[in-house]
């Protein structure tokens, strides 16, 4: 799974810019193989057995106890699947790209290599290495292929995320060196009873560092700007997958290695998460650019993930991981629909688009589906996720949980408002001549909807899998 994008990059490097079709084909095959493999690991994971499966482990740098250690368990299998889905549909979505095609796919595959690596790694060193690999190509991707205010957005995004890394490094190394084991192996580090003050310091460093990527309020400001500036598939990857890296890392590294630190900071985490949910909803209400609307709704949805993590209960974590998956697929669909509309009309202003569903019924349907999912309508995957998180949150943090629920209701309202003004007003005559989505370009969107609905109707496939690793995880806390 990790190898196929790398091989794809190597082949792409040898191709010439002129061989557009070949370039796209190679990228698609590389992404397709990853996709297939991610489905295979998701379906082939043995739930009865539990634990970490598909393990690969090689010693890497002996002097520092670094080993290459990857595996799959219930917690990361859904996220691997998510990455597979988003990269595959992302490549399909960018099929019409015309400028610097070769470089674009190289950087995109590099990014995906990093993402896969983060989700699979059980070695802290490689975890961080892949984390950085996933973050850096964003700068180039936004700068070259981006739109609105891309120079500002790219620089802001990179500096924010790198500042996060600046906090992660000391936090990570603090755990490494105070363990006395001289190993970066997370499973071994987990067994070390760190003293409470070390855990408190390390946890807050790691939480804030990774939290930047998870768009935890108040470190979210890079994210809407970045979403707006990025090209469609990058927005999809970025909001769909990259932000999950942040919250996954909080779960995998910060909470896993510093359970006492987590308990110490849980209240604080929940507070930031609740503020994020409310803030995202209300700022989103005021936006007129569709991408900004989605950007701020992501902030609030990622707040739900953080809130779920902060509860530290089985339901909460279960819901959080499920929400990561559901939100990932959903935002990918959002951005892919908006990207399609923007490519045609060159506008994302809600008022200009008014009545769009009469011009492009299919493209609008994609967007509306995503909006319904975002509003948490039953039958969609995110319904279950949000339900679980909210139930857990109200139990553990009653006030913040209720606040979040209230915000979500408002959020549903605003999603409907956007849908209403964008798609059901009087149509703008300027755009009447546009054709609707062709079946080929509709394919990636259909895949995304398929997954949303499938896991909306059969959530137990996902939840059962996640539970196999969440239950031992909670016991370890």
């Amino acid at each position: 799974m990790l190898l196929s994008p790398v091989v794809g990059i190597a082949i792409l490097l040898c191709l010439k810019e002129e061989q557009r079709f070949l370039i796209r084909a190679v990228a698609l095959v590389a992404a397709g193989i990853s996709f297939a493999l991610s489905i295979y690991t998701f379906a082939g994971y043995d739930k009865q057995l539990g634990g970490i499966q598909f393990v690969e482990k090689y010693p890497w740098v002996e002097a520092f106890g670094i080993s290459y250690f990857v595996g799959v368990e219930g917690m990361n299998a859904p996220l691997l699947l998510l990455t597979g889905i988003v990269i595959f549909t992302g490549v399909l979505t960018m099929w019409e790209l015309q400028t610097r095609v070769k470089e674009y796919f190289i950087f995109q595959l590099a990014l995906v290599t990093g993402v896969f690596g983060v989700f699979m790694s059980y070695d802290l060193f490689f975890f961080f290495l892949f984390y950085e690999i996933a973050v850096v190509p964003m700068y180039v991707l936004i700068l070259v292929w981006g739109s609105t205010r891309r120079i500002y957005a790219a620089m802001k995004l990179t500096l924010y995320l790198m500042a996060g890394s600046g906090l992660i490094i000391p936090g990570m190394l603090l755990l490494y060196s105070s363990s006395g084991l001289f190993t970066f192996d997370m499973l071994k580090l987990h067994g070390v009873p760190f003293s409470p003050w070390i855990q408190n310091i390390a946890f807050v460093l790691l939480f804030l560092g990774f939290g930047v990527l998870a768009a935890v309020w108040p470190f979210h400001t890079w994210s809407p700007v970045g979403h707006v500036a990025a090209p469609t598939a990058v927005s999809m990857l970025h909001a769909g997958v990259l932000m999950k890296l942040g919250s996954f890392a909080i779960l995998r590294v910060a909470m896993y290695l510093c359970p006492l630190g987590f308990q110490y900071w849980a209240q604080f985490m929940a507070l930031l998460a609740a503020i994020g949910i409310v803030y995202g909803v209300f700022v989103g209400l005021a936006q007129t650019d569709l991408k900004y609307v989605i950007g701020y709704s992501s902030v609030s949805h990622m707040g739900i993930v953080s809130l779920g993590l902060a509860t530290g209960t089985v339901d909460g974590l279960n819901g959080a991981v499920f929400q990561m998956f559901a939100h990932g697929v959903m935002t990918a669909l959002f951005f892919s629909a908006v990207g399609f509309i923007y490519d045609r009309t060159h506008t994302r202003e809600i008022h200009e688009l008014g009545g769009f569903s009469r011009i492009m019924p299919v493209a609008s349907a994609f967007f509306i589906t995503a909006a319904l999912c975002g509003a948490g309508v039953p039958g969609m995957a995110s319904f279950w996720a949000e339900l679980l998180v909210m139930v857990a949150a109200v139990k553990v943090f009653p006030l913040r949980g209720l606040l979040a629920i209230a915000a979500l209701v408002v959020g549903a309202l605003f999603a409907l408002r956007v849908v209403q003004t964008t798609f059901y007003n009087e149509p703008n005559p300027k755009f009447e001549h546009f054709e609707d989505v062709s079946p080929f370009l509709g394919l990636p969107r259909m895949i995304l909807i398929g997954f949303l609905v499938f896991f909306g109707i059969f959530p137990q496939y996902m939840l059962g899998l996640i539970k196999t690793s969440i239950v031992p995880f909670i016991q370890g806390l």
């Binding site: 740098v61 520092f64 961080f128 850096v136 180039v140 700068l143 500096l159 790198m162 000391p170 060196s177």
Partner: protein
């Protein structure tokens, strides 16, 4: 055979001699000179490689040949080879001086090679001066306005002053221990723990190498010399010369291994100031070489992190980082010399459109810059992480935190270079690269990536080398 143990240095002495005869010719033949010098330096790398595993002591124990010294000799030979590889076209140096340029580069290399093997204070000093004097001559060789003279004078004065500091420090050490041999000094050092004379002496003795490495407060020469010197000379100063300085700092710093608190606290202080100052000032630079000068000050601070841990993995990390720095900094300078083929100073903005002018060069540039900025998967990232890890193992939490934050600061100005090269369009003619140049580009890119992902071999080598010193 003791003569063979001196083989690498001997080879480069002969090479210097050959080049000396070339300088005597009345009619300059620049192309031929370059061919001869380049061929000789290529053979030199092979010689250094063959001598890698030698061990022994020479000249009344004042000169030790071990893995540590041989690795650095190989690095220096490689540095000279690389610099000569981009010296085919030397527009900024007058043609009749080309032979001298090669000659002094070689004598400087000989000096530094002796430096990394020297284990006696006077030998260290003499070797250091041999390499420094060559550079004092090389810096003002540049043709054109007076900026080169300013640079030359600055370099000379700062060098002279730091030599004074160093001699003063050496005299303290000699006075306190009655010996000029490092091994004797090391044995007597524990007695000096209580007295400040040891700490002061050692820090002052290291001043000479702080100067070479451009560590605060001996960094003032760097921006002017970088800007004023010819590109090739600056490349040499910024790569090979820094590696040699790291070697000697390691040799001297282990003397203070038992000192504990005060000695390391001074180093921590210098390291923090160097990296913060370098990175902050680099942000406002417009000239590419000046920016690289400040970035080199910052990188000197990073290297010091590894040295001040004073134990095996830390020192090994420093060696790894010094070697990595040699490669990545050279890559950036190589792009610089290729873009500014007429030898002029390059503003960062003038890199505009490099992507269209030469995709290969822009790829090298982006990799080199990312490596300097510590972005994975490059040697710069791995090296930096090793340095931080070993420092954290010794409990320097704040140092690591400040270092990591500095990494973010530095990213800003590095990304500006990437931005200019990749995203600003300029209607300039494409840059032609000769086939060997293309090969060099590919080799450098591959090195940066490969050893970033698979650092184990270098790291184990560095550890073995450090064991020879401790």
């Amino acid at each position: 055979m003791s003569v063979l143990q001196f083989g690498v240095e001997l080879y480069y002495l002969v090479m210097a001699l050959v080049l000396f005869f070339l300088t005597l010719r009345r009619e300059p033949q620049a192309a031929q000179d370059h061919r001869i010098a380049f061929t000789l330096s290529t053979v030199g790398v092979v010689v250094a490689l063959l001598c890698l595993t030698q061990q022994g002591e020479l000249f009344f124990r004042s000169y030790r040949v071990d893995l540590f010294s041989q690795i650095f000799k190989l690095a220096l030979a490689l540095g000279l080879f690389l610099v000569l590889a981009i010296s085919r076209n030397l527009p900024s140096i007058e043609e009749r001086n080309h032979a001298e340029f090669y000659l002094f580069l070689t004598t400087c290399t000989v000096g530094m090679m002796m430096l990394v093997s020297a284990v006696e204070l006077l030998t260290i000093y003499v070797a250091l001066e041999l390499s420094s004097y060559s550079l004092y001559i090389l810096v003002p060789l540049r043709r054109g306005d007076d900026i080169d003279v300013e640079a030359g004078v600055k370099y000379l004065f700062f060098g002279a002053v730091s030599s004074c500091f160093m001699l003063f420090g050496l005299s303290y050490i000699f006075g306190a221990t009655h010996s000029t041999y490092l091994s004797d000094i090391m044995a007597r050092m524990p007695e000096l723990v209580a007295s400040p004379i040891g700490v002061v002496g050692l820090i002052l003795a290291m001043a000479g190498f702080f100067f070479k490495l451009s560590i605060f407060p001996f960094h003032f020469w760097a921006p002017d010399v970088y800007q004023g010197g010819a590109h090739q000379v600056v490349t040499f100063i910024a790569t090979a010369s820094k590696a040699a300085a790291v070697a000697l700092l390691i040799r001297l710093a282990v003397l203070g291994a038992q000192y504990g608190y005060h000695f390391t606290q001074i180093l921590v202080f210098l390291s923090i100031i160097s990296m913060t100052l370098g990175n902050l000032v680099a942000i406002i630079q417009k000239d590419f070489k000046r920016m690289l000068a400040y970035s080199s000050i910052a990188h000197a601070g990073y290297v010091l992190i590894g040295i001040l841990t004073l134990q095996e993995t830390g020192l090994a990390s420093s060696i790894y980082y010094a070697l990595a720095y040699l490669v990545m900094n050279f890559t950036v300078f190589m792009v610089l010399t290729q873009v500014a083929q007429d030898g002029r100073d390059l503003k960062i903005a003038e890199l505009a459109g490099l992507y269209h002018r030469s995709p290969l060069l822009s790829m090298s540039l982006i990799l080199g810059i990312f490596a300097l900025a510590g972005v994975p998967p490059s040697i710069g990232f791995t090296g930096k992480l090793f340095l931080f890890t070993s420092a954290m193992n010794q409990g320097y939490f704040w140092l690591v935190l400040i270092g990591a934050v500095n990494g973010t600061l530095s990213l800003y100005f590095y990304l500006r270079v990437v931005y200019a090269a990749y995203f600003v369009d300029a209607k300039l003619p494409p840059i032609y690269l000769s086939p060997p140049m293309r090969a060099l580009n590919y080799a450098l890119c591959a090195t940066i990536l490969y050893f970033g992902v698979a650092p184990n071999s270098i790291m184990e080598l560095a550890r073995a080398a450090v064991r020879a010193v401790l």
